[in-house]
């Protein structure tokens, strides 16, 4: 077995001129696949990063997004005194009632407009979300028309520099600081005071309630009570679970990635086939020699398959290397959950690299199957005679 392996692998390297184009072709196919999938992975990580295990998010039953949820003030009063919610240093329940509003803001450099999610938070809101950190400027003062914008959003929208004022709903809001949230969904938000948000946007109700319930049994009890209490048409679930389930936006991107991979791999398979047929054709005599030496048909078949797989694995590795510089590159699109801009990174994970490499090997195997069969079936005497 050793000779056919080294023979075929060395062959790929010796005939580098004819194989280079094929390798590059496969590399580009793999790179495109990786980059599109990196978008889907990045989006998914973005929502999977969000939230704190100890928090319980309470939304209206039936609502599919935080922004379409509703919690009345009476419901909030009831929730505040539910047993099991952690208390802060002053003995107050750690609970934040949020107001979520979509506002339309101009992008940088006049490239149209997009929706941005504004989150009005209660004073406890920041303490409940330890991921969110102030990185520049100062925190907003409750009762004032001030906002703290995500630093990453500020890179994409025109009026979010610290000190900027922007007008919405007839009111002027001042940007006083920038936040960063560890590449989570909060990185796509603008934060302000909840009651200010209710007054500016004329909202009678809150949207969602977030409570710290570190005791798992207590969390289960609250969830259960919300499920059964007819006065509260609400649903409680772990904050992390809620964000993890937000995968709608990634689905069409993943679909695009798979469609591209399929279509482009057909082209790549044909290219690999052409190369391998030429490679087999040029080495007819060598194959005959191998057979005379006693190597069996299936060994020849296997060794040519291996050659194809090796060839395209080189392409796959190159493709991964080509796509790596995109890792961590920040981009944004429309979130189908909230209908607002979501900022996230291209994310190339080891699992994705593995997928890319496997994909390239499969392309190589399919592409070399027929040429390898042809090599294995060559009649020994005739092939020895061939030029």
């Amino acid at each position: 077995m050793a000779l056919p392996i080294t023979y075929n692998i060395r062959n790929v390297l010796v005939r580098w001129r004819s194989t280079l184009a094929t390798i590059l072709g496969i590399a580009l196919v793999v790179a495109v696949y990786m980059m599109v999938q990196a978008l889907a992975v990045g989006l998914q990580q973005n929502s999977a990063n969000t939230g704190d295990e100890r928090n319980l998010l309470i939304v209206r039953k039936g609502s599919t997004a935080e922004s379409s949820s509703q919690v009345t003030r009476e419901q909030l009063q009831l929730l505040k005194f539910v047993e099991g919610i952690d208390k802060d240093a002053k003995g107050q329940p750690l609970i934040s009632a949020d107001v979520l509003v979509l506002i339309n803001l101009p992008r940088k450099e006049g490239r149209g407009e997009a929706n941005v999610l504004v989150r009005g938070v209660s004073p406890a809101g920041l303490e409940l979300r330890p991921q969110v950190k102030l990185v520049e400027g100062r925190w907003l003062s409750p009762g004032k028309r001030e906002v703290v914008a995500s630093k990453r959003l500020a890179g994409r929208f025109a009026q979010l520099q610290i000190g900027d004022k922007f007008k919405t709903a007839g009111q002027e809001l001042t940007v006083v600081g920038w936040l960063e949230a560890g590449k989570s969904a909060f990185d796509s938000e603008i934060w302000m005071d909840a009651d200010e948000a209710r007054s500016v946007f004329d909202r009678e109700f809150y949207s969602t309630v977030l409570a710290r319930v570190s005791n798992a049994a207590a969390a289960a009890a609250i969830t259960n009570r919300l499920e059964t209490d007819k006065r509260l048409p609400l649903r409680g679930l772990r904050e992390t679970d809620y964000y993890k389930s937000q995968t709608m936006t990634a689905t069409p991107i993943r679909f695009l990635g798979n469609f591209l991979a399929t279509a482009m791999s057909v082209g790549a398979i044909f290219a690999a086939m052409n190369t391998m047929y030429a490679s087999v054709g040029a080495r007819t005599r060598e194959v005959g020699t191998l057979r005379v030496l006693g190597y069996r048909r299936r060994t020849v078949l296997l060794s040519f398959l291996l050659e194809g797989a090796f060839l395209s694995l080189l392409g796959g590795i190159l493709g991964c290397l080509l796509s790596l510089p995109m890792n961590g590159y920040s981009t944004g699109t429309l979130s189908f959950e909230n209908f607002s801009e979501v900022v996230f990174d291209f994310s190339i994970t080891p699992a994705l690299i593995m997928k890319g490499l496997i994909f390239s090997v499969i392309v190589g195997l399919i592409g070399s199957l027929f040429p390898a069969l042809r090599a294995a079936r060559l009649p020994v005497i005739a092939s020895l005679k061939s030029l």
């Binding site: 790179a31 209206r60 149209g112 407009e113 997009a114 082209g267 944004g332 209908f339």
Partner: protein, 380 residues
């Protein structure tokens, strides 16, 4: 043998390789056309007859904020306004499906068909729809997809609005650019929610010339009120969605250029392979007195021919597929139509033509450089 015959014979002497090259060019060009058509549909939304005279007014804060119903009277009084209907997105779920393939809107049945002038429905169905508050009308595409008939019960679960709807299908309409939507009485929604709020206003101007002044008048009418309005043409409204999608256009265009580059690589290497194989013959031709120019034209003609054959197959295939098949069914409602425009056909054929020329350059150079003796000595 004529020159053309000679070139054709050469191109197809290794039938398998010729077929593989043609098909790989065809597949890549098909992909290119699909991407170009897709990105065009995303960035240049389809329009119908009414698009030019329709105006959409939404809350200035953003589309997701509601407007007060009392604004209707003010809008109707504006000169140049022919008809107004509230147009409120319901966002319900049907039969527990996760991904909805149709939208539902609460409208005013009395004026809907004036605003959506392209919609066609039998008069008796329209009368039935207008007469009963808990009825709805269903687009032909959705009706066919779910086998919905007139008289059927139609239930929607609320997500954005916290109410479930239980309605009867009064009619099935067709003729709009997107025959998927469901329309129902805004009064029914008002009854459940207490009323007073609408999503957007859809307005039809008396003529296309009136559109500009009407847009301006609406924006002015509600400036500095508690619910400021952004009125714009239907076109501008659609394009604002494109802007929201972010960098999708850039992404697809970069993918297109990678596809083209891959194409060049693959076909250039195939062409080199084909020429390397018959180096000796080309040397014989040279010895017979054929000039470099003639040899180059042989190679060029062969490579150009193969690339164009791929173009006919790939671009033609894409054209037939998107023109004669039901795109909306094919893409599960993501795209309503995929129009292969002459420009896209032109661009793709141009890519194929330059592909044919570019991939003949490298082999032509090596043939031109080779000396006859050296060429005759070549073994494979």
């Amino acid at each position: 043998m004529s020159i053309t015959g000679f070139i054709a014979k050469n191109a197809f002497r290794n039938r398998r390789r010729a077929a593989l090259s043609v098909v790989s060019v065809a597949v890549s060009l098909f992909l290119l056309v699909t991407l170009l058509v897709g990105v065009r549909e995303l960035t240049v939304p389809p329009e119908d007859l009414g698009t030019a005279s329709r105006i959409i007014a939404r809350n200035k804060i953003s589309l997701a904020n509601l407007l007060p119903a009392r604004q209707r009277a003010t809008i109707e009084k504006i000169p140049g306004v022919l008809a107004v209907t509230p147009f409120t997105w319901f966002g319900g779920t049907y039969k527990g499906e996760q991904a909805m393939t149709f939208a539902q809107f609460a409208v005013d049945p009395a004026t809907l068909f004036q605003v959506m002038e392209d919609a066609k429905m039998p008069a008796d169905q329209l009368a039935a729809f207008q007469a009963e508050r808990t009825t709805c009308i269903v687009g032909k595409v959705t009706a066919e997809k779910y086998g919905i008939k007139v008289g059927d019960r139609f239930q929607l679960g609320g997500t954005f609005w916290p109410y479930d709807l239980d309605m009867r299908v009064a009619g099935i309409y067709q003729g709009t650019i997107d025959d998927r939507n469901i329309f129902f009485h805004h009064k029914y929604l008002d009854e459940l929610s207490g009323g007073g709020q609408v999503g957007t206003w859809w307005i039809r101007a008396t003529s296309t010339e009136q559109v500009g002044p009407v847009v301006e008048a609406i924006n002015k009418a509600f400036a500095n009120t508690s619910a400021e309005v952004r009125a714009e043409t239907e076109r501008a409204f659609q394009l604002s969605f494109v802007s929201m999608m972010g960098n999708i256009k850039l992404l697809i265009h970069s993918i297109c250029s990678v596809v083209v580059f891959t194409l060049v690589l693959v076909s250039a290497s195939t062409m080199s392979m084909a020429i390397r194989e018959r180096f000796r013959e080309l040397a014989v031709l040279k010895a017979l007195g054929f000039r470099r120019r003639e040899l180059f034209s042989f190679i060029l003609a062969e490579s150009f021919g193969l690339a164009m054959a791929g173009a006919v197959l790939g671009v033609g295939g894409a054209y037939c597929l998107f023109t004669y098949l039901d795109v909306s069914k094919l893409t599960n409602g993501i795209f309503v139509v995929l129009e292969v425009t002459p420009k896209i056909i032109g661009v793709s054929c141009l890519v194929a033509a330059s592909l044919g020329i570019v991939s003949s350059i490298a082999p032509a150079i090596s043939v031109a450089r080779m000396s006859v003796v050296e060429g005759l000595k070549t073994l494979d």
